[in-house]
Amino acid sequence: MTSRVVLVPGVLALLPEYAGQTDPVAELRAAAVAAVGWAGPDAEVIAEPQGARVVEALRAEARAAGVLAPAGEPATIVVANGSAKRTEKAPGHLDERAAGVDEALGEALRTPDPQHLREWDRGLAAELMIGHVDGFVALGDLLASAGPAEVDYADDPFGVQYWVMRWRCES
């Protein structure tokens, strides 16, 4: 039996209560709404409380846009993101180590490389302001039998590394 796994970042700008006249994350939003929609209405959500709110909002947008898949394959949505210290303007300012850690993490997500996703230097992850390490660990377990990721979005427009990815897993 196959299942679907989705990764989205826990970006608060995706929440309706933080909307402006123009959307600073329009491209990310489009990718994230489509991916959360693909996971369907009953997907399990692995997220911290803020991330769970983001998924709820994205799911509502997917439903409103008519892109919420019908209930079917089991699915999981993980909310996590890379470092928030990628540039001088980033929320945590620049940490030179962030780019390398994010690059390896991104590669481990694309491949996927479950072992890399499970093994963390948590002290370094905290210093680099990686978003929700436990989410990446959970992905390591979920993606044990997954094929390569569909990468819908991979960018750091505000100094924080975001990914929107989708996987199909055989179980």
Binding site: A19, A90, V160
Partner: protein
């Protein structure tokens, strides 16, 4: 109620900038800078570029001075209105006049609004507005004669007087045939008012917004003497005080702002609308990445 200024309609949540364009050699703020017709036309182009929805064209300064008869006033504004009308079909043209004869000529030339800064001194002005389906701005002056300064005028309650007089004027306009959605009320800061009166009107402008029952409130605050006396600053140094008064009026719901500085006033009003939740921030990402 949707505001209609002759050909132009504006939704309730749309606050409007009315840019002052003087066709006078002696107005207090610009000292005749746009007296030459081409200079006045350049001023129109500038304020349109800056996003003003309305221009308010005036041929006589408000303060006492050389007598300007109706023929001279018309020679200053009528052809100019026609030129602006032809060049800017989407722009609302208001003319600052109290004379029905002048109102008739400018409406025929394409004006949309008659801004009667002198509170109905010429009773036939409302008939002209009705005849052309134009809008009218009904101001409160305490009954003073046009182009006179307030002298020892006092009120039991200046705000109550402003509400009563402007609403009575507005009712008279509607009775004469002006459309209800084309009537605007204006407490007229400094007209028939000393600084304390104008400050009280500013402080209590929300009462006028409420009492207007949907009739939009216009405020004309720009660089006026009540700002100057409040801060002891001459004309030319009153922008910040003007904007502070603008913010107070915007928060209370005033709809139209008659201004010299369009960009600064628009930013002030937009900021107030964002603070009060009437508008969203343009673009917010700080702390939300």
């Amino acid at each position: 109620m949707t505001l209609r200024l002759r050909r132009h309609e504006f939704a309730d949540d749309h606050k409007l900038m009315m840019a002052i364009v003087n066709r006078t050699p002696d107005s207090f703020f610009d000292q005749g800078a746009t007296w030459a017709e081409d200079k006045a036309f350049e001023r129109v182009a500038t304020v349109v570029e800056q996003g003003a929805e309305i221009v308010d064209i005036g041929g006589i300064k408000a303060a006492p001075g050389v007598e300007i008869d109706a023929a001279e006033e018309k020679s200053r504004v009528v052809d100019f209105v026609a030129r602006v009308r032809e060049t800017y079909p989407g722009l609302v043209i208001s003319v600052d006049t109290w004379r029905a004869e002048v109102g008739d000529a400018v409406c025929a030339a394409g004006a949309d609004v008659l801004n009667d800064a002198w509170g109905g001194a010429d009773p036939e002005l409302v008939d002209v507005a009705a005849q052309y389906d134009a809008a009218i701005i009904c101001t409160h002056t305490g009954g003073v004669t046009p182009r006179t300064r307030p002298y020892r005028l006092e009120y039991d309650d200046v705000v109550a007087a402003a509400i009563a007089d402007t609403m009575a004027y507005a009712d008279r306009a509607v009775a004469a045939g002006v459309a209800e959605e084309s009537v605007v009320i204006d407490p007229a800061h400094d007209f028939g008012k000393n600084t304390f009166h104008s400050l009280e009107v500013t402080r209590r402008i929300g009462e006028m917004v409420e009492a207007g029952h949907g009739r939009p409130v216009l405020v004309s605050l720009s660089n006026k003497d009540f700002v100057g006396e409040s801060l002891d600053l001459p004309v030319g140094e009153r922008l910040i005080g003007t904007l502070a008064a603008t913010a107070v009026c915007a928060l209370a719901g005033a709809r139209i702002y008659r201004v010299h500085q369009v960009v600064e006033t628009r930013q002030t009003v937009d900021m107030v609308d964002v603070i009060s939740g009437l508008k969203l921030p343009r673009r917010a990402i700080r702390g939300l990445q």
